[in-house]
């Protein structure tokens, strides 16, 4: 026999060369195939068209607006009045005796100091804008538009001089607009305006230590409630930021994830026994349970949530049920695989002590699959927190819907970034909690 193997080599050169050639061909063909696929999708997604139509200035706008706010100084020429307001909102208009110190209002005229040498004076229907390194721009509102007098020289690109509307933005944080009905000056500031309390609240502008002192003092601002509850209410009901509603939405999202995952685990485990070969001898039962899992998973969260939204309306219950249905399928499948892989000796050992079926399950089976069970449930909880935001956006409510809505109005980007930050924080916290629980429960650390 040894002689045979010596004489006739096990590997004949033909096979070896064929194998090598096939591999060499694969190393060339595979990257080319991937590349061709990418080229195909490049055109099928319409990337060239997209690049032409992209609006990067929107990203800049979004970035500026989410970290800054502006104060409008507006002169309404028809009614001949001067207003100073945050974001031009009526709710946040400064009273005449509390104007910020960079604005000086004199009757219906005003002088605005925009810093670094930029300044605007409004006299009657004439606006004079002094721009360092350029000169004095003089714009007069007339009955049918605006008349602009620019310093000599080329017109800079930050300036739009139109007979109907004059618009100048020499730097990102200073802007002046004149039309025939109004003169408007925007001064930008960093930060989130009125974050803690609304502009009209008595508490607006108080420092943290002042608030602390107020909370502890016995003199009530509002005789109907204690200062502590006044502060809490003023904060939660802040009309610009709607903290209360945002927190409720976050709570709804967490609830969806938690309830959905727990329910899925609750139904998935018993069903998994029905789908495992070593626990259910009837192949018909096994077949139908497995198809049920496939069906629940295959329908997908998207379709389940649409169906549940129709039946149960908006809210956490809808999201929880959509998650529960999909994940009963996924978890059931995982658990049944874990059950098929258990070590039978442990069950036999328990049986040898005279244990009945329930005792065999309890002491022979459950301890073996518990680590898989706990770790998978926690993994799903983690990923469902993210899924819950998406389901919310489809219409189930919670933080996802709120995010889509603030983005649609695309006015207050700082609100959008606030919600985004909170969502990410919640997801990370859920991640950490589930990781910590997993380490504690499984590795016993």
């Amino acid at each position: 026999m040894a002689v045979d193997t010596l004489n006739a080599p096990i590997l004949d050169p033909g096979t070896v060369f064929r194998g090598v050639r096939r591999r060499a061909w694969m190393t060339v063909a595979l990257p080319i195939a991937v590349l061709m696929y990418l080229v195909y999708t490049w055109f099928s997604f319409g990337v060239p068209d997209l690049l032409a139509k992209a609006q990067p200035e929107r990203a800049a706008l979004l970035a500026t607006d989410s970290v800054a706010y502006k104060v409008h100084v507006t002169k309404l020429l028809r009614r001949d009045i001067m207003e100073v307001a945050i974001e031009g909102e009526r709710r946040a208009t400064y009273a005449a005796d509390e104007l910020p110190d960079w604005v000086e209002v004199n009757g219906t005229d005003a002088a605005v100091d925009l810093g670094q040498g930029y300044s605007v004076t409004i006299t009657g229907k004439v606006m004079e804008f002094d721009v360092p390194d350029y000169g004095l721009i003089r714009v007069t509102a007339t009955n049918d538009g605006v008349r602009t007098e620019l310093p000599p020289g080329p017109v800079p690109d930050w300036l739009r001089d139109d007979p109907k509307k004059f618009d100048a933005r020499p730097t990102l944080d200073r802007r002046v607009q004149v039309t025939r009905t109004k003169i408007e000056v925007h001064n930008y500031f960093g930060g989130w305006e009125n974050f803690w309390f609304s502009f009209q609240s008595e508490l607006h502008g108080m420092s943290f230590s002042q608030l602390w002192a107020l909370a502890l003092s016995n003199e009530r601002i509002d005789p109907a409630q204690s200062n502590m509850s006044l502060i809490t209410h003023e904060f939660l009901d802040n009309p610009d930021w709607q903290h209360g509603e945002v927190f409720v939405a976050l709570f709804e999202t967490i609830m969806m994830a938690l309830l959905g995952t727990l329910t899925a685990a609750f139904f998935g485990l018993p069903l998994a026994f029905l789908a495992a070969r070593n626990f259910t001898s009837s192949s018909i039962v096994r077949f139908f349970t497995r198809r049920l899992f496939d069906f629940l998973r295959g329908i997908d969260m998207l379709i389940w949530s649409l169906i549940f939204i129709r039946a149960f309306g908006l809210g956490p219950l809808t999201g929880a049920l959509a998650i529960a249905f999909t994940d009963t399928g996924s978890l059931g499948k995982l658990f049944s695989e874990a059950l098929e892989n258990i070590d039978n000796r442990q069950v036999e050992g328990v049986r040898a002590t005279g244990a009945n079926q329930i005792q065999r399950y309890r002491f022979g089976v459950i301890p073996q699959i518990l680590p898989v069970f706990v770790s998978q449930v926690l993994y799903y909880l983690e990923s469902n927190t993210r899924s819950a935001t998406v389901i919310g956006a489809l219409g189930a409510g919670g933080i996802g819907l709120m995010l889509v809505e603030t983005m649609k109005t695309s006015r207050d980007w700082e609100n959008t970034s606030y919600i985004i930050i909170l969502t990410i924080v919640v997801v990370i916290v859920m991640d950490q909690i589930s990781g910590w629980l997993r380490r504690r429960l499984i590795e016993g650390k």
Partner: protein, 282 residues
């Protein structure tokens, strides 16, 4: 007697353990009960009223699909291009995200001689990439780039890079270091060690995770379509928006989506089974 004391000790320990398990189980049950009653209150439609309506909508679209008769199959076929777009979003996102994940994984595992100071940085980066929900990235990019499949693709790829990167680096941690040492003894540089000692060991597991991710990403791309990223999700949103009478179109999309997801699930679990051997494929 010492043995009696020991027995006593064991008994109290066991009692305490049983108490803990009982408290844990009761806690979960309490969370479930109170959670459901609370969500029932917060929901705009209650559970009991909804229950009777649960089959109305599926019933309605099934009836409309039935009335459409054989034309229904024609409808299913008309939506195949949209489905293909969703599959493309998922495919490209998994390819690009997976490629980035390989780089991230190689840069964040001590076992494959990644550069030390970089490891914690890349790990935190991957944590952040995983934590940001795809929806947020997609919505932001849709705002900047306009409604098209590309924002969804980038969003899914971003998340995929983080998620796969973590799984890949876990695979890296469990490889055999002997080939790496052998190659460095021959004077191979880092890239060569990765190429010839690490990649051959990890390739089957990488591919298996890659397929699993593809499966997940098909679902994610379908959902993102619903918020304006193109593909089957967008079509679904359109037909649902038409309201009554378009039930057959909606049903056609549901059927197509269901069949595609099933097909991809089955194909990927078959391939994964072949790659890493049955039993480990999950």
């Amino acid at each position: 007697m010492a043995v009696a004391a020991l027995e006593q000790e064991i008994l109290t320990l066991r009692k305490r353990r049983q108490l803990y398990s009982l408290v844990g189980v009761l806690l979960v049950i309490a969370v479930l009960m109170s959670g459901y009653s609370k969500s029932n209150e917060m929901n705009s439609g209650g559970f009991l009223q909804g229950l009777s309506k649960f089959f109305d909508y599926p019933g309605e679209i099934v009836v409309e699909a039935w009335e459409a008769g054989p034309a229904f199959f024609g409808l299913v076929i008309t939506y195949i291009p949209a489905m293909l777009e969703t599959l493309n979003i998922a495919g490209v996102a998994t390819l690009l995200g997976g490629a980035l994940a390989v780089v991230l994984a190689m840069a964040s595992t001590r076992n494959v001689d990644s550069w030390g100071p970089l490891i914690p940085v890349v790990r935190r980066l991957m944590d952040i990439m995983r934590a940001v929900p795809e929806l947020i990235v997609a919505l932001f990019l849709i705002f900047v780039l306009g409604s098209s499949p590309v924002p969804a693709m980038i969003a899914v790829a971003f998340h995929t890079a983080g998620a796969l990167g973590k799984l890949f680096s876990e695979v890296n941690e469990n490889i055999d270091r002997k080939p790496i040492e052998g190659l460095s003894a021959c004077g191979a540089n880092w890239v060569q060690r990765i190429r010839f000692a690490v990649l051959p060991q990890v390739a089957p597991n990488y591919l298996s995770y890659f397929l699993l991710r593809l499966e997940i990403n098909v679902r994610a791309s379908a959902i993102l379509g619903f918020v304006g990223a193109g593909g089957i999700g967008q079509e679904l949103r359109r037909t649902i928006g038409w309201g009554q009478g378009a039930g057959d179109e909606t049903a056609a999309i549901f059927v197509l989506l269901f069949l595609t997801i099933m097909l991809i699930d089955q194909a990927s679990s078959y391939l994964r089974g072949k790659l890493v051997g049955a039993g480990r494929a999950h």
